[in-house]
């Protein structure tokens, strides 16, 4: 019953989106289907997509499920294909279930590709990726060293020990430290799960056990608030630099209080822009080059032909100077 209601809701939202676009039928339509509508992260992608659509002369349709339900998401993608969009991009919820929809798109001549979350073996046209694990790992170490020096001692507080993406980032942090800063001491990672309480407890204990600690990296975004709060409570603002992979909205208060020096992530608005740009390229039948000049991007966007991945670029660093320019 509830599922039916949601489908109706999603369908009516879609109809609305299509009706409002009926006036500009000559422009090709590029759609993006997020994992979930109504959250700041995807709102930012939508805003970037809209801007790109205006600048590149396409029509942008944004429609997605009201909760992270893969079945609803595929239904929406299927509807968009039936409605005759030229290209549709998906932030995939269930990579194993998307293949039939990719086939349906191909049969209708619709370019289907992925953004933000991939389905590598589905036959999608391209994957617009936000950042690499290596980029995220090395950037946070480089930025930290800029603030605490190359011979500091740094603690790592992660979330679940089983999270493969977090472990990959930690691996690249350790690799970068070893290769570029031999005098840097990275403590063994500690795992706090998902609560601010555990993150604060562990970060506090790390500072007690290591009075010479200069920095703490919160690897899971859920550990950012706890680590920042522990630095504040311990009165170590200015002595210990906190950082983590968290959105500007999460990090803002801590960057302003000084418990966080910076935060590292990517800019979803730029990712939305690049998604629409990629859709336009696919519609125009232009192949991606190894390096692509995209309007509004400081550095060229690289394309990995082996894996079919278009990379947004180096991760974004949010500091006191720019954090207020973002809202996600």
């Amino acid at each position: 019953m509830f599922t039916q209601f949601k489908t109706v809701l999603a369908a009516s939202a879609l109809t609305l989106a299509l009706c409002s676009s009926a006036f500009a039928q000559d422009k090709p339509k590029v759609a993006f289907v997020p994992q979930l509508i109504g959250i700041p992260y995807f709102n930012a992608m939508e805003a970037g997509g809209k801007r790109a659509a205006q600048e590149l002369g396409v029509e942008f349709i944004y429609s997605g499920p009201v909760d992270t339900n893969p079945v609803d998401q595929l239904q929406i993608v299927q509807n968009l294909i039936d409605q005759g969009v030229s290209a549709v991009s998906v932030s995939v919820l269930d990579a194993s279930a998307i293949a039939p929809v990719v086939e349906a798109a191909k049969a209708k001549g619709v370019k289907l590709f992925t953004s933000d979350s991939d389905a590598p073996d589905s036959g999608r046209a391209v994957y617009v990726a936000q950042a690499t694990d290596e980029g995220l790992g090395t950037t946070i170490i480089d930025e930290m060293v800029k603030r605490v020096g190359p011979d500091a001692k740094i603690g790592i507080v992660s979330g679940e020990a089983t999270a493969s993406n977090l472990n990959a980032w930690i691996g690249f942090m350790q690799k970068q430290a070893k290769a570029k800063y031999p005098k840097l001491t990275l403590l063994e990672p500690q795992y706090a799960g998902g609560t601010a309480q555990r993150a604060a407890q562990i970060a506090g204990d790390l500072m007690t056990a290591n009075p010479d600690l200069k920095g703490i990296i919160a690897v899971a975004s859920s550990t950012c608030p706890g680590v920042a709060q522990a630095i504040e409570t311990a009165g170590k603002i200015g002595t210990v630099v906190g950082t983590g992979y968290c959105s500007p909205n999460t990090a803002r208060a801590y960057i302003k209080s000084g418990s966080f020096g910076f935060s590292v992530l990517w800019d979803p608005a730029q990712l939305g822009y690049l998604t629409v740009w990629a859709g336009k390229q696919l519609i125009d039948g232009k192949p991606f080059a190894a390096e692509n000049a995209v309007p509004g991007f400081a550095s060229p966007v690289t394309y990995n032909a082996d894996h079919g991945i278009l990379l947004l670029g180096p991760p974004a660093v949010f500091t006191a100077d720019n954090v207020d320019k973002f809202d996600f």
């Binding site: 700041p40 500690q190 609560t195 009075p211 950012c224 608030p225």
Partner: protein
């Protein structure tokens, strides 16, 4: 029930031994700063554990307290965002918690669902509630008003310590000076006999869930004050920690026996172990192993196998 017995002395001994061992192993353990850290990290568990003590003493249980704290914390956070005066925001937690406790009581007591099953079901429902209310985003960097209030000092002692002491005193008085205490324990010993001897069983059981909810809600106010954050996974380790501390403290998981001092000492011992192990370099992943191991160890030592069966029947009845 409240007098210092063998268990409390044993716990006190364990706390002292742990303190000595960790002090020898790490130069940073026995410092005023670290003592403050341990106390600060104990506050929510002290309160949630107090509620759990009453529930276990009654022969009941609530495995959803962590997420109940999460819902109450969302209420406290919104009170702060709506610029409530900090003392008012502090009260929002216990009020919201009492309301949620009443809901739990409706399911478990009036719905006649066994407590362990009913609260497990509520755990799922409440978690979805937290997800829906947070809408995929955490409440981060909340106003500092409540934090400042709780850390304001009276005679050098933070207000938070007084609030916790006051909560323990109130519960102690209720147990010791009102009919509530004997009635609660008689239900824990045997619900049937309690009913036959005229104890208002339904009323007492509902009241106890409400009291536990209010105490867990007060813990939520502390959580928001301590971390100024409400995240999706809030409270996910609270139920395990609370049950472990309470059982460690000598409250019977079968009901009929409770110790408030034991609960407080159990919480302190748990937090000292977690803190000390990290200070001497044991990875934090082992902390859950310590908690779980202590819980199993105490139960195995306390409950002869024959009574395990009794526990099963008991929990399935309620």
């Amino acid at each position: 029930m409240i007098a210092i017995g063998g268990r409390e002395w044993a716990l006190l001994g364990a706390v002292i031994v742990a303190t000595i061992l960790f002090s020898v192993a790490s130069p940073y353990f026995a410092t005023a700063g670290n003592a403050g850290t341990i106390v600060r990290n104990s506050t929510e568990l002290m309160l949630a554990g107090l509620g759990m003590t009453l529930l276990l003493a009654m022969g009941s249980i609530d495995v959803s307290i962590g997420i109940l704290m999460g819902l109450a914390a969302i209420a406290v956070a919104h009170a702060l965002l709506a610029a409530f005066a900090p003392p008012l925001a502090l009260l929002v937690g216990p009020l919201a918690g009492a309301g949620l406790g009443l809901m739990t009581a409706l399911v478990v007591v009036l719905g006649r669902v066994p407590a362990i099953v009913g609260t497990l079901g509520l755990l799922g429902i409440y978690r979805m509630g937290v997800f829906a209310l947070l809408g995929g985003q955490w409440l981060s960097g909340l106003p500092v008003g409540l934090t400042e209030l709780m850390s304001s000092r009276i005679l050098g002692v933070p207000l938070s310590v007084f609030v916790i002491a006051f909560a323990y005193l109130l519960v102690w008085l209720a147990l010791r000076r009102t009919p509530y205490g004997p009635q609660l324990l008689s239900i824990g010993n045997s619900e049937e006999k309690a009913r036959l001897s005229g104890v208002p069983v339904t009323k007492i059981r509902i009241a106890t869930f409400v009291i536990s909810g209010a105490l867990t809600g007060l813990a939520a106010s502390f959580y928001v004050a301590n971390y100024r954050n409400v995240e999706m996974a809030i409270g996910s380790t609270l139920a395990l920690d609370a049950i472990a501390a309470v059982v460690l403290g000598g409250t019977s998981i079968m009901g009929g026996r409770c110790s408030l001092l034991g609960t407080a000492l159990g919480v302190i011992l748990l937090r000292i172990l977690q803190n000390g192990l990290l200070l001497v370099g044991v990875p934090s992943l082992w902390q859950a192993v310590v908690t779980g191991g202590l819980l199993i160890g105490v139960l195995a030592l306390e409950l002869p196998a024959s009574r395990m069966g009794e526990m099963k029947t008991k929990w399935m009845q309620r």
